[in-house]
Amino acid sequence: MSFKRLTKKTEFYVALILIVFCLIIQARSGQFFTPNNIVDLLRSLTIPMMFAVGEMMVLISGGVDCSFPAIASLSMYFVCTKLDGAFSNPIPYFLVAMALGLCMGAVNGFIVAKYKFPAMIVTLGASSLWIGVMQGILGSSEYPLTFPLYQLGEAKILTGTNPVTGFSSNLPVHFGFAVVLVLIGWFILNKTMLGRGIYAVGGDEVAAARAGFNVFGIRMFIFCFSGAMAGFIGVCRASMMMTVNPNNMIGMEMDVIAACVLGGVSLVGGKGSVIGAILGTALMTLVSNSLILLGIPTVWARVFTGLIIIVGTGVSAVQEKTRKNTLHVAVSDQ
């Protein structure tokens, strides 16, 4: 890819901002490029990054999924409380959670694909439903983590130690899972017919149907995939935190959607890339994690998140507008 083409991509600018931001933090605090800070960042990137891959696929297909934190919380809470001690191996917990997530995702998928309602309102309703089931029927108190998952939470890939301060952080194996999920997402989107179908449905549903894509099937797949992944991520989160907290994922949906859009994933569908979603997530995580290093009081965290969303999406919206206008002029000149 030539450099000129590269500069036309949103991902390029996000990466640029990311690097500049890192350098600013390093210049102000001198603590950025230390092994423990980098490991800490990767650690807090793990969960949002996995969510971003699922959400990005939904967004590319022209929908939006606001219910994945609810699905993740409910499936995680169910397997961790109801199946506590049932298995001696962590894998069945993941499988059951994924199956539950898949079923919940299928409900979303069916309603969105069959009735063509706005996905956002459907998934908001579903989200309320699942959170209600969890808090009202299963209860919403913290619960000790079952042993196999606890053991998994203790496993680490590497340890980053700051040579000056002596602080160290561990990178859990879950980061490896996240990398695998990212690769799966990339593979589906770029190397399979299904992936082409996802882009086609997001770009123009009617055209995709004419071209022979099964629009209903693709939409169903997207939401089922997102749901199953949410179940998996929910268990990952519990095992990473080493405790079962049903409420600390709720509200993440908006940050994840914003991160995807920052990374150039279009909210109307048809456009976006895995690398963009990851970069957007990295930027959001970096901003909320580095305020302390920059010397900004934590009460300002939310204001900064809001500003990042508005500025980031504003820039791409204005770009889109000017692009459309130039296109318009070119056509009318003929």
Binding site: G132, M254, V303, L307
Partner: protein, 335 residues
């Protein structure tokens, strides 16, 4: 042809007209509540309690409903309501030096401040959506964070309290049989209904919601339509903020966080199309009353945990959308 000329059955007429559908649903829910919990439900105390509860989220529902009518959404309304009451609260605390007595003038002035903040926040939403072209969902998601964040910064993350007694007295005042909050709600609903149903702006809103490209080609000012709608919706949010502030005599950055979902449910239940372009304030008001009755009914069964309400709201939203879909389908088939 012969089918159209024959008189329609009464049931079909009710199902075809969305307002009639709402009235019928209202009556059904009312009768069901009376049958299930007659003694508790029909008591004057319960009615007073219901009247006290619904104006705060009812106003939010009308505001969010307007955003839905123009084909957008407003996720920031609840936090704008809180921010307005926080700024008004700080205004009162800054200029009031009594020991709990007096301060009527300052409190009234602070209401104006709150409405002003609501209007500014709404204009910001409108400018981001129409001026910059950010999709409504993301723009209001950003401002949600922003309003919430400013609320946290201004309060330092805690709850504002220590307001003069007159504030609570004013909001909890009764107007004959009705609490003043009902009067505020009714006035706001009537004004909004007139704007949406009778004025040029209301017509333009619906046209914009149906097709915002067509409005440009017919010479309408899209920017003005969106900004006006969101400004008005912001002021309704501020009004709701004032009521919540007065009811609890305290202001906090994250009061009523579940109201966003509930307000969207109410608007959709009230016949506002989630795709934009149609909807009426009368429908929203009826939906508010229906939701309040159901909420009070659920309260009367003390063994049902509070969180189960979320199941009802979420499930109801999905069911209502699906039922409306089939009713519209069969209506299309008949005509």
């Amino acid at each position: 042809m012969s089918k159209e000329t024959t008189a329609k059955k009464p049931l079909e007429m009710i199902l075809d007209n969305s307002s009639a559908r709402m009235v019928a649903l209202f009556v059904v829910v009312f009768i069901a509540c009376s049958l299930l919990q007659g003694k508790n439900f029909l008591s004057p105390d319960n009615f007073l309690a219901m009247f006290r509860q619904f104006p705060e989220y009812g106003l939010l529902a009308i505001g969010i409903g307007m955003a839905l009518i123009i084909g957008g959404i407003d996720l920031s309304a609840v936090y704008l309501a809180n921010l307005s009451s926080i700024v008004a609260g700080l205004f009162v605390l800054r200029f009031y030096h009594g020991d709990g007595e007096g301060g009527t003038g300052i409190v009234l002035a602070s209401f104006v401040v709150a409405l002003l903040i609501g209007a500014i926040g709404g204009i910001l939403n409108g400018v981001l959506i129409s001026g910059l072209g950010i999709p409504a969902m993301l723009a209001t998601l950003g401002t949600q964070s922003l309003f919430w964040g400013f609320g946290v910064v201004l309060t330092g993350g805690s709850t504002l309290s220590g307001f003069p007694k007159v504030l609570g007295n004013m909001i909890n005042m009764k107007f004959g049989l009705f609490p003043i909050t009902i009067v505020i709600f009714a006035a706001a609903a009537v004004i909004t209904a007139i704007i949406v149903q009778k004025t040029k702006l209301g017509r333009e809103m619906k046209m914009y919601g149906t097709n915002n490209r067509a409005t440009v080609y017919s010479g309408l000012n899209n920017f003005k339509i969106v900004v006006c709608t969101h400004m008005f919706s912001g002021m309704l949010a501020a009004l709701s903020g004032i009521i919540m502030w007065g009811r609890y005599s305290s202001a906090k950055a994250d009061t009523g966080a579940t109201y966003t979902m509930q307000a969207i449910l109410i608007a959709v239940l009230g016949g506002v199309s989630p795709l934009g372009g149609s909807g009426s304030v009368t429908g929203i008001v009826l939906a508010v009353l229906i939701i309040q009755m159901l909420s009070s009914l659920l309260n009367m069964y003390t063994f049902i945990p509070n969180a189960c309400r979320q199941i009802v709201w979420g499930g109801l939203l999905l069911v209502v959308m699906i039922v409306n879909y089939y009713l519209d389908q069969s209506k299309k088939k008949r005509h």
